[in-house]
C-alpha cells in the first residue's frame, strides 16, 4: 500500500486506509475538503496530507532548460565543478592519488593505526581549506568536531605557520597583492577560522551532526567538516549493535546530504580494530561492515617499511593506489626519500 510509505503520522495513515485511500493516485484526485470530510479531520490537516502525497508521487516538471529533473545536474557541470573543489593535503603524491585532493561534496573516511597521523591530516586539511583563491585554494573555513580530545591547538598553530611559510616561498604574487594576502594570512587568523566543537558523548555527536545544517547555513563559507573520530563514543558506550548501526547510518546520510547541499567536504577519521579472517588477525577499520558503505571514499593510512603510506581502499572515481607521505614539523608533506613512486595496485 503506497500510503503506508508516506511520512505522516500513524493515526492519519490508519484513517486514510480505513477511508479507502490506499494508492497515491486516489489521493491525487481528492480535494482537501473531500479528504477532510472522509477522514474526519480539519481541512488544514487534509491539505498537509495532500501536499506530502503529491511530493511523494511527483515526477517533477522540467525546470526551464536548466535541468530535466529538479535537483539534478548534468555530468559536464559536475565535471567543471569537480575541478575547482579540491582541498590539497600538502603532499603532492597523496593529492595525485586522490585526484587533486580531498573532494568537496563527498564524504571521505580516513583510518589508520594509532600514531600514523590521522589527526595530523585532519588539522592539515582544516588549515589548507583556507588557502586563498590566488594560491589555488578554496578560501573557506573549517569545522573541526573533536570527539577524542586529541586536537592540540599548539600543533594547529605549527601547521598553520608551516602552511603560510610554504605559500610565501612557492608563489610569485605581485607585491601589491602580497601585502593584502600577508595581512589575511597570519597563522593566528587561520586558527580563528577553525570552528571547534568538543563532543563528549554519542548523544552530543548526533546532536552536532543534526545542528551542522543550521550552523553551516549561517556560516556559508565553511568548506570542510572534520570529525575526529567518528568511532570513539560509538565504540565504548553502545551495547545494542543493531541500534548503533541504524544511528550511524542516520549520521552518514545526514553528512552526505550536508556535503552535497552546501558543497563542502566531509572528512571522517576512523580507528582500526583487529579482525580474525583467513586464519590470522588482520587490521581493519572499526565500526563494522555496514558502516563501510557509509562513506564515498575510504583512505587507509599504514606503515610500509619505514614510511607512511596512504592507500585508496574504496572510491567510485579513483583507481586503488598507494602513495607515501610524511609528517614533518610543518605538517603533512611529501615523503622525503622519494618524490615519484606512486604504485598502482
Amino acid at each position: 500500500m503506497e500510503v503506508m510509505r508516506l511520512p505522516i503520522s500513524v493515526s492519519q495513515r490508519k484513517k486514510l486506509v480505513s477511508a479507502g485511500y490506499t494508492s497515491l493516485s486516489a489521493l491525487s484526485s481528492a480535494s482537501p475538503s473531500d479528504l477532510a470530510r472522509d477522514l474526519e479531520i480539519s481541512e488544514v490537516a487534509a491539505h498537509e496530507i495532500l501536499k506530502v502525497a503529491s511530493h511523494g508521487s511527483r515526477l517533477d516538471k522540467s525546470d526551464g532548460n536548466k535541468a530535466i529533473l529538479t535537483g539534478a545536474q548534468n555530468a559536464w557541470d559536475m565535471y567543471k565543478e569537480d575541478l575547482h573543489t579540491r582541498i590539497t593535503t600538502s603532499c603532492t603524491d597523496l593529492d595525485n592519488i586522490l585526484g587533486g585532493g580531498i573532494s568537496c561534496k563527498e564524504v571521505t573516511e580516513i583510518g589508520g593505526v594509532p600514531g600514523i597521523g590521522k589527526t595530523q591530516l585532519g588539522i592539515q586539511l582544516a588549515v589548507n581549506v583556507q588557502i586563498p583563491v590566488q594560491y589555488g585554494g578554496l578560501e573557506g573555513k573549517a569545522v573541526y568536531i573533536d570527539t577524542e580530545g586529541s586536537f592540540m591547538v599548539e600543533r594547529a598553530l605549527q601547521i598553520a605557520e608551516g602552511c603560510v611559510e610554504d605559500m610565501m616561498e612557492n608563489n610569485n604574487i605581485r607585491p601589491r597583492d602580497l601585502q593584502v594576502i600577508q595581512d589575511k594570512l597570519q597563522p593566528k587568523s587561520l586558527l580563528a577560522n577553525i570552528f571547534y566543537f568538543r563532543i563528549c558523548s554519542y548523544t552530543e555527536q548526533i546532536g552536532v551532526v543534526n545542528y551542522l545544517e543550521k550552523f553551516v547555513s549561517e556560516h556559508k563559507d565553511v568548506k570542510i567538516v572534520v570529525i575526529d573520530s567518528i568511532t570513539f563514543h560509538f565504540r565504548q558506550d553502545f551495547e545494542d549493535l543493531a541500534l548503533r548501526t541504524r544511528v550511524l547510518g542516520g549520521i552518514a546520510l545526514k553528512l552526505m546530504k550536508l556535503a552535497h547541499n552546501f558543497n563542502l567536504a566531509v572528512v571522517l577519521l576512523n580507528q582500526v580494530t583487529t579482525k580474525y579472517a583467513e586464519g590470522s588477525y588482520q587490521l581493519t577499520l572499526a565500526l563494522g561492515d555496514t558502516w563501510a558503505h557509509a562513506s564515498t571514499n575510504r583512505v587507509i593510512l599504514y606503515w610500509n617499511g619505514n614510511e607512511r603510506y596512504a592507500y585508496i581502499d574504496k572510491s567510485p572515481s579513483l583507481p586503488s593506489a598507494s602513495a607515501p607521505y610524511s609528517v614533518t614539523v610543518k605538517g603533512i608533506r611529501n615523503s622525503a626519500s622519494n618524490c615519484k613512486r606512486i604504485k598502482l595496485m
Binding site: 511520512p7 505522516i8 503520522s9 500513524v10 506530502v52 593505526v113 600514531g115 577524542e148 580530545g149 592540540m152 591547538v153 599548539e154 600543533r155 594547529a156 605549527q158 593566528k188 580563528a192 577560522n193 577553525i194 570552528f195 571547534y196 566543537f197 568538543r198 563532543i199 563528549c200 558523548s201 548523544t203 552530543e204 548526533i206 546532536g207 552536532v208 543534526n210 545542528y211 543550521k214 573520530s229 570513539f232 565504548q236 558506550d237 541500534l243 541504524r246 544511528v247 542516520g250 580507528q271 580494530t273 583487529t274 579472517a277 590470522s280 588477525y281 588482520q282 587490521l283 581493519t284 587507509i300 599504514y302 606503515w303 617499511g305 619505514n306 592507500y311 581502499d313 586503488s320 614539523v329
Partner: protein, 440 residues
Amino acid sequence: MANRLIVEMGLPKSIANIFAARNIKTAKDALSLTEFELMELLDVGLADVISAVAYISEMVCPPCETALLLLEQRLQNEQLAGHLPTRLIGLDKVLCGGIPFGVLTELVGPAGIGKTQFCLKLALLASLPQSYGGLDGRVIYIDVESKFSSRRIIEIGSKSFPDVFCREGVAQEMAGRIVVLRPSSLSDFTESLQQIKVSLIQHQVKLLIVDSMAALVSGEYKQDTPGQHLLGWHISFMKSMAEFSRIPVIVTNQVRSQIRDEVGRFSFQEQHRAEIAKDLTRFDSHLVAALGIHWAHAVSIRLVLEAISGLIGSKMLRALDLISRRFIKIAKSPLSPPLQFPFEINSSGISLLDDDGVEVLGPKIHAIHCQELQLLLPWKGDHWDPIQGIQEQVELLHRQPSLKTGPPFWRLQWLSPFHYLTHDYNGVYKIFKKIQIVFK
C-alpha cells in the same frame, strides 16, 4: 548535556508533552532513534518530528569555539603554558615543555625498566612549590601493582632537589601531598575514579597517575573477550576527566609477548606476504603493549621505555664489547618527532644520558625491546658461522650513513631457530667472549 530533560528545553508545550507521554525523557532517548522511528512512536507528522529533533540537537550541541580562542585561553589561564616539566631537558624540549595537561600520557615498557621510577619523579615534581617549577598541588597516585615506595620518593626528592628538601618539614609537606590509592579490583577502581572526579577541583589535585592500567584487567582477562573492552568506559571517563579539569594524566601499561599470527597489517597488504617473510622487522619486536590497539587510540602521547643489549665495536673493529642501554622513545605524539633518548635510573630518579635525541624511522619507534640479546647470524644449511656473520654485519652497519648519527650500538639477530636461544643470556655471552678473542 546528553541527559538534559526534554521538558526543560523550551520546546512548544504540545510536542514536549507528546515526548513525555511516550517516555522519551532525555535528549539521549530522543536522539538515539531515527526520525522515522520517532514519527512512528510519537504519532506525529514528519515535519514536526524533524523540527523537534533539530531543536533538541541544537540544545544538546556544545558551544562552538574557534581554535584561536582556545589558544589564547590556554596561554592566559594556565601555569607553565599547560605542561608539567619532566626536568629531562631533552624530553621537555621535544614535548614542548613537558607532559601536557588535558590528555592521557602513557608509559609502556617491560618489567623493571623504570616506569614506576618515572611516575614517582613526576609525582614529586607536581607537588613541588611553584617557585621551584612545580605545580604546587596534590597528586593522586593509583597504585594497582603495589609498587609505590614512600622511602624511594623521599630519596628521589632529597637527591634531585637538595636545596628544597634540606629545609625542615618540606619532605613531610611534599610527601603529604601525594595521595596513594590501592584498588584491589576493576570495580574498586571504577568507584575510586568516580570519587576522584568530584574531588579533583576541590582539593587542588594537579596530577593523576595510574600505575598500571594493564594490571587492572589482567586478573579479569578472558580468552575470548579482549581485556581492553573492559576498559571502554574507563578510557572515555579518564579522557574527559583529564580534559575538563585540565590536569596531566599519566598511565602505565605492561607488555606481553606477541602472538605469531598477530600481524599488524591490512588485508590489502597481504599480497606482500612473501616480502613479509623476508622482512627482518617481523622478528624484531617480540613484545607488544598489553592493552591493545583500542587503548592505543585513546592515549595522546605514548612513551616507550626499552632496554637494548648489543655488541659495541670500536671503529677499527679490534674489540667488541657487550653493552646494555635503556632508551625512552616518543612513540606517539601529535607534536613531537619520533626521537629516542638513552636514560638511566639512579638515586635521583631517572635521568637522560644525552639530551639530543636520535630520530627513529618508521614503525620501529613502536617496538619494545626487553633486556635480551639478539644476534644476527646467517644460517647456512645446517650449521652457522658466527664469526663471518658478525664480521659481515659489522661492516655493513658501518657503511650505513645513518649509523654515524645514531647511537654507537646495533642489535644482532638470529635468522634461525636459534633465535629463541637468545633468551639464554649466559650462553650467548660466552659466544660473545669467544668472538671478542677472535677479533683481538
